[in-house]
């Protein structure tokens, strides 16, 4: 069965510091990968998605970036955090080929607080 991991689970960082959040998926190959941000009491906003190694699509202009160095690894980064970057960051995956390619599964999330 497939498993998705995110770390760290919680993070408190000062404004202006760098950020690196990691997501890995087990039990599947060639997944599509996604990063979402969820503000307190709000819905989920798609930030980035990737259909393959090195292929990143950005949905929202911001000071965040994403990378996919390996097939099942997805990294969210920032060079300098802003207060507005605080939130709950969720990684998700969906099958890259075949049916069902629509279903999307989320990881446990990382709670980021920028102080």
């Amino acid at each position: 069965s497939q498993t998705i991991h995110q770390w760290p689970a919680t993070l408190v960082q000062p404004v202006g510091s760098p950020l690196s959040l990691e997501c890995t998926v087990e039990g599947t190959s060639n997944p599509n990968l996604y990063w979402y941000r969820q503000a307190a009491g709000r819905g989920l906003q798609l930030l980035f998605y990737s259909v393959g190694i090195g292929q990143i699509s950005s949905e929202v202009p911001q000071n965040l970036s994403a990378s996919r160095p390996q097939d099942r690894q997805f990294i969210l980064s920032s060079k300098k955090l802003l207060l507005s970057d605080s939130g709950f960051y969720l990684c998700a995956w969906s099958p890259g080929q075949g049916w069902p390619s629509y279903e999307q599964y989320f990881g446990p999330g990382t709670r980021l607080t920028v102080t």
Partner: protein
């Protein structure tokens, strides 16, 4: 046109009652409509989903009703239980290659009381 509007924002239902959450969309290109359940501090879990060529889908106590002409869909939770207390999100998929780009509603916080 990419928005999905969800209502109500919060809902209180007695144990054994029916919980109903509604969503509406504008973009007729959406081709897949999932519902997610999220407990505090956890990632959303896929609950049930429907394609627009089907008017209803039922899985256990959870049913999606889909009205293509009205561009609306709803989640019904029958015999609601305290363990169903969570935040529920509807979503819609915009077809873009193989990626599953989902637009989410703003969520409904459900509380099931004894």
């Amino acid at each position: 046109q990419q928005q999905v509007k969800q209502s109500p924002q919060s809902l209180i239902v007695q144990k054994g009652g029916i919980s109903i959450i509604n969503c509406a969309y504008e973009n007729t290109a959406f081709d897949y409509f999932p519902w997610y359940q999220q407990f505090p501090g956890k990632g959303p879990a896929l609950l049930i989903a429907i394609r627009p060529d089907v008017s209803e889908k039922k899985e256990g106590r959870f049913t999606i009703s889909f009205n293509k002409s009205a561009k609306q869909f709803s989640l019904h939770i029958m015999d609601s239980q305290p363990g169903d207390s969570a935040t529920y999100f509807c979503a819609a998929r915009f077809p873009y290659g193989t990626a599953s780009k989902l637009t989410f509603g703003t969520g409904t916080r459900l509380q099931v009381t004894l």
